[in-house]
């Protein structure tokens, strides 16, 4: 299921123009990171994917559905959206019920429901907490519950708004593993993030927005080389890219593997 955005313009009721002509396409199974400073339009853009916002001009289509023709609840069948603040959605007394909430709304029952929920719980490390009250968990674990509850909805497209903010290394490692599994399952994943190191390691396509327009859209190699553009978007290149540049190794480094390869190449060439 593809996402097609065609000349999208969006202006808030207050008159602020948040998106000024965005056109892009995300194919089925793609994994995309969306970056940009606060106010660049990144959250505004992804909120069009599940109908939370309707275009002022232009069209957004999810598969064969134009978003302005469907309600948010209907689009929830195709696009799962994970919000930043779990406390703004937790409404059940047990983690299991909370994770099942979305799936039940979509009509999952019986064996299928249990399978989805148990799978989502396991993926987020919540297996042993199924019977616990979500508010007995710490805030970082409540965020896992929020992600699990959208995961259980088994949508083809997943949008996550700043999933790594304030999370520790253990979560980042597990989340990276989850992204890989989602790729195997053929799901499209769109992550809004300002953690450039995480993005560098896990995403093959990065879109950088600035002032409501797409500034950069491509593979990490191209993105992280464009230092002026990155500066405009208030982004610093990833740690390893900067290290490679400082050592005059190569401009195409943004992961550990690439760095080591570049290092070995240089050492071999001596």
């Amino acid at each position: 299921m593809n996402i097609a955005v065609s000349d999208l313009h969006f202006t808030f009721a207050s008159g602020v123009a948040a998106l000024c002509g965005v056109t892009l396409r995300i194919d089925s199974g793609e994994r995309v990171a969306i970056m940009g400073r606060n106010g660049s339009g990144k959250s505004t853009l992804v909120r069009h994917f599940n109908g939370l916002l309707r275009p002022t001009r232009g069209v957004v289509t999810i598969g064969d559905w134009a978003t302005h023709e469907h309600s948010v609840a209907q689009l929830a069948r195709r696009v799962g959206y994970v919000f930043q603040n779990p406390d703004e959605q937790i409404c059940k007394r047990r983690v299991w019920d909370e994770v099942a909430f979305g799936a039940i709304n979509l009509g999952f029952r019986g064996a299928r429901l249990h399978k989805q929920v148990d799978w989502a719980l396991a993926r987020l490390g919540l297996g042993s907490y199924a019977g616990v009250n979500p508010y007995d968990l710490s805030p970082s674990w409540r965020r896992r519950v929020a992600i699990a509850s959208v995961l259980a909805m088994d949508t083809e497209i997943l949008v996550l708004d700043e999933p790594t903010t304030g999370q520790d290394a253990r979560f980042l490692a597990q989340f990276g593993g989850l992204l890989d599994e989602l790729r195997v399952l053929g799901k499209s994943v769109i992550v809004v993030s300002h953690d450039i190191d995480f993005v560098a390691e896990h995403f093959a396509r990065v879109i950088v927005l600035d002032e409501g327009r797409i500034l950069l859209d491509g593979a990490p190699e191209q993105i992280f080389r464009a230092s002026e553009a990155l500066e405009m978007a208030a982004l610093q290149p990833p740690q390893l890219t900067r290290l490679a540049q400082a050592l005059s190794l190569s401009h195409c480094v943004h992961t550990e593997e690439e760095f080591l390869r570049a290092l070995q190449t240089r050492l071999a060439g001596a």
């Binding site: 609840a73 409404c91 709304n105």
Partner: protein
């Protein structure tokens, strides 16, 4: 989120508590004062001129109209048609008849509301909340009270934004929130529960923040801004109260 309109003038320079006392006195007089013309008289002789001299006629008139017009309409229709004291028929529209006594009652109610609303708006338009809180604190209101008043005003837009965020999050999980009564009833708990719980979490954190700002310190508090409360204000407040009591008394016994 405040209705305060910056400006200058007689009313702006009065102490907030004086204005508060005035407003309450007017409210009492509107309902307990002598005669049927008192509310209208107060409005025309006192409230409207004050609004004029404060340069607030437009927002004042606009707000009064927006709030009262629909109310007045319903009052006149309901009482004109159905007030039990109605006897003298003014005119009929088909099977229903509009009666004089009902219309008179509606007119009285409307003028009372006009008076009370008029006084409240004058107060709110010319008093910044921070001045009100300071004024109350000067007169012995406990810090928690002034805090609740000030914080509530600021919390309302925050709450509205949060309720919208919760709606969005639940809809994004497939919850329909509009439609039949049954659908909306099902959506109630998933909307209310996070609102309450997240507010509790926030309240806990805010309590910690307030503690960090020494809010519960037993030291006598000072204030950044000065609010003058000269004797003439005190006299004015006492005069208001006395006049109000006299007029109400006069109305009862004469």
């Amino acid at each position: 989120m405040t209705l305060y309109i910056p400006g200058d003038g007689f009313l702006y320079r009065r102490h907030p508590v004086t204005k508060l006392v005035f407003m309450l006195c007017v409210a009492f007089l509107a309902f307990l004062g002598p005669g049927r013309w008192t509310p209208l008289l107060i409005f025309l002789a006192a409230l409207l001129p004050l609004a004029l001299f404060s340069g607030l006629v437009r927002p004042y008139g606009g707000a009064l109209w927006r709030i009262l017009a629909p109310l007045a309409f319903f009052l006149f229709v309901l009482h004109g048609l159905f007030n039990p004291a109605g006897r003298t028929v003014l005119f009929s529209v088909g099977p229903v008849a509009v009666k004089l006594e009902g219309v008179v009652f509606a007119a009285l109610m409307t003028s009372r509301l006009l008076c009370v609303l008029g006084a409240s708006l004058l107060f709110v338009f010319t008093t910044p909340p921070s001045a009100l809180m300071l004024g109350l604190a000067q007169h012995g209101a406990p810090p928690w009270l002034t805090y609740v008043i000030g914080a509530t005003l600021q919390i309302i837009p925050h709450m509205r934004a949060r309720a919208a965020a919760i709606t969005a999050a639940q809809q994004a999980r497939g919850l329909e929130t509009t439609g039949s009564l049954r659908v909306r009833a099902r959506a109630l708990m998933p909307m209310v529960t996070p609102l309450v719980l997240s507010s509790l979490v926030d309240a806990e954190e805010r309590a910690i923040a307030l503690e960090a700002r020494a809010f519960r310190s037993s030291r006598p508090k000072t204030s950044l801004t000065e609010l003058a409360d000269p004797p003439v204000e005190r006299v004015a407040r006492q005069a208001c109260v006395v006049c109000t009591l006299l007029l109400i008394g006069a109305g009862q016994w004469l």
